[in-house]
Symmetry: C2
């Protein structure tokens, strides 16, 4: 599984673990909701600063999203 698919799977799993909708997650990470949806479908190749914001919102290390 490549890093984009790992990110998609981990984002969805960790978001749902928090009980957040994509809208809630988008608001917390200060990222557009459609971009969250694209990320969770493996349709984006984000930069590390975007992934860092996602990890901060989820309160996990970046490695938990990418490894």
């Amino acid at each position: 599984m490549d890093v984009i698919d790992r990110l998609a799977r981990n984002l969805r799993r960790l978001r749902q673990l928090k009980g957040w909708s994509q809208e809630e997650f988008a608001f917390r990470a200060e990222i557009h909701r459609t971009y969250i949806s694209d990320l969770e479908r493996g349709a984006r190749n984000p930069t590390i600063t975007v992934v860092s914001r996602l990890a901060t919102a989820l309160q996990v290390p970046i490695g938990d999203l990418l490894d």
Copy 2:
């Protein structure tokens, strides 16, 4: 320290631990040497697929480069 600075510091440290020049590292990661130099100066905001290739070349988890 933000994620771009953490990447810069970790890349340089892990590359030097391997005893590689930037040229050697660029060849192994299949990335242009000047891009490696830019990354180590914190002058780039790479995508996760680029960081994944860097981690593979260094044989470390991506979290070791970004956390």
